[in-house]
Symmetry: C2
């Protein structure tokens, strides 16, 4: 997905919110906005939005004087999600369609707003995800692809959410390669998050070699690309991965909630809708 | 009022919306955003937001290849407002407190969104303005200042809204100097608007000599400043005039609806509140 002009005001909103989370120094917050502003005139509109995410969050790291300013918050979210994981695992086991319920919970992980200033209510969000209709629901196609593949390549998204990814991987019961970001960026998953929630015990964890908040293939490592090229089924979580891979002609299934109007329009759904979207 | 960091994402949103109104050419729309982006790093945060308005709207004029891209829309709003003016004038005449009702209608002019893409419902907006409580209501102070002054300096804001200004000026019945912008900018009032709605017949119309969407004193003409310095009572309509004059120690009464959270916070009111705020 390309960058739309509507993304530009949103880049500044995101940059300001991110800067305000890591420093109270207004001149440092302004420096983050200046870094984004300087990038705008040269930013190619056919690039995906997470390319700008790199600019935004490297400026935020500089303002915070820390390479992982969200570390503490990521840990909080991982722990919160882990605390309800056993109950959800039991519920999935007993479900009429365990795979579908695990998919729903994995989307719930993405539905729940892990923006560090938000208070979120797991119970309410998870309650809703059990019955919310999918706006795009390529479930039969997904099950077919799953039955035909020997290995699943699973592209993670956020801390906290990763616990729900674990539950889906355990439900799928196929050899899985779980992909995290190559560097900390916002609250996106890293190797440390994968270890903290025990995904390393049930899947092979690799990084994509890039510090973008998405999967920008030209920035990814050889190791990741070799997995990507041969994968029979790719599960892609969240908006950042969708934005960077939506034009790819591969067996990718996007699991996400459309949280912004630009992505919703690109998907042909409404803001707030949930989707399980396979290849066309 | 200074510029707050929250204004920066909003500058880009406004610039995009304005650009989209005057051209369908995405590269021209992007050029408007680029012009704003280039200005951000050098923009002094102690300047008022309308200083950036000049940058935004000179870029919009360039994109539109027209010095007054909103001319047609301003005419539509003037005509719509003029069509209900006679009935409102009668209602004010019969009112228990004609001055207060005329003030309410003058704020309604500012309440009604004259953003050119909006459909607005005069009747509903005006109905609400009749009973909406003021969040700041310096009415007694206003009446006292009015009784003591020989002349009123009235700072206009938007096309359409100017018709309601006329009704308030007619109700006040004091010699009035009505001030319009020195150049077309957005849908702000110009000499042409003043003539179209007949304000020139009941007041002396002057321009402030500047093309800013507010009253930036250092950019205003000598003629305007001489009126401003001697005025016993200044009525200031709308957000742009508030943003640029809120720190002035003069007998200024601000009539406006707080349409954005930054201005609401600066006023100590809630977004959507209406105010009649005099000097402290």
């Amino acid at each position: 997905m390309r960058t739309y002009l509507e993304c530009i005001p949103c880049f500044f909103r995101q940059a300001l919110e991110a800067a305000q989370m890591v420093t109270n120094d207004e001149s440092k917050q302004k420096a983050v906005l200046d870094a984004v502003a300087k990038k705008i005139p040269e930013f190619p509109m056919d690039a995906t939005p997470p390319e700008m995410g790199i600019t935004i969050h490297s400026a935020v790291k500089k303002a915070a004087n820390h390479t992982d300013p969200y570390l503490h918050l990521k840990n909080i979210y991982n722990e919160k999600a882990l605390s309800i994981y056993p109950a959800l695992r039991e519920e999935v086991k007993r479900a009429e369609d365990p795979l579908l319920l695990a998919i729903r919970f994995a989307i719930a992980g993405n539905v729940i707003d892990f923006g560090p200033t938000s208070n979120f209510d797991f119970d309410r969000e998870l309650e809703e995800i059990r019955t919310r209709p999918f706006a795009i629901f390529d479930y039969e196609k997904f099950k077919k692809a799953l039955s035909e593949t020997e290995e699943v390549l699973y592209l993670g998204d956020n801390a906290g959410e990763i616990v729900f990814d674990r539950l889906l991987i355990e439900t799928i019961k196929k050899p899985t390669v779980y992909v995290v970001r190559g560097e900390p960026i916002i609250n996106d998953v890293t190797v440390e998050d994968a270890k903290k929630v025990g995904i390393d015990k049930i899947a092979t964890v690799i990084t994509n070699g890039s510090g973008a908040p998405g999967t920008i293939l030209r920035l990814c490592s050889e190791e990741f690309l070799s997995h990507y090229q041969k994968a029979g089924l790719i599960i892609s979580k969240g908006q950042g991965n969708y934005e960077t891979l939506s034009d790819e002609k591969r067996s990718i299934f996007f699991l996400l909630k459309a949280k912004c109007p630009v992505i919703a329009r690109h998907l042909g759904v409404k803001t707030g809708d949930i989707v399980l979207k396979g290849p066309r």
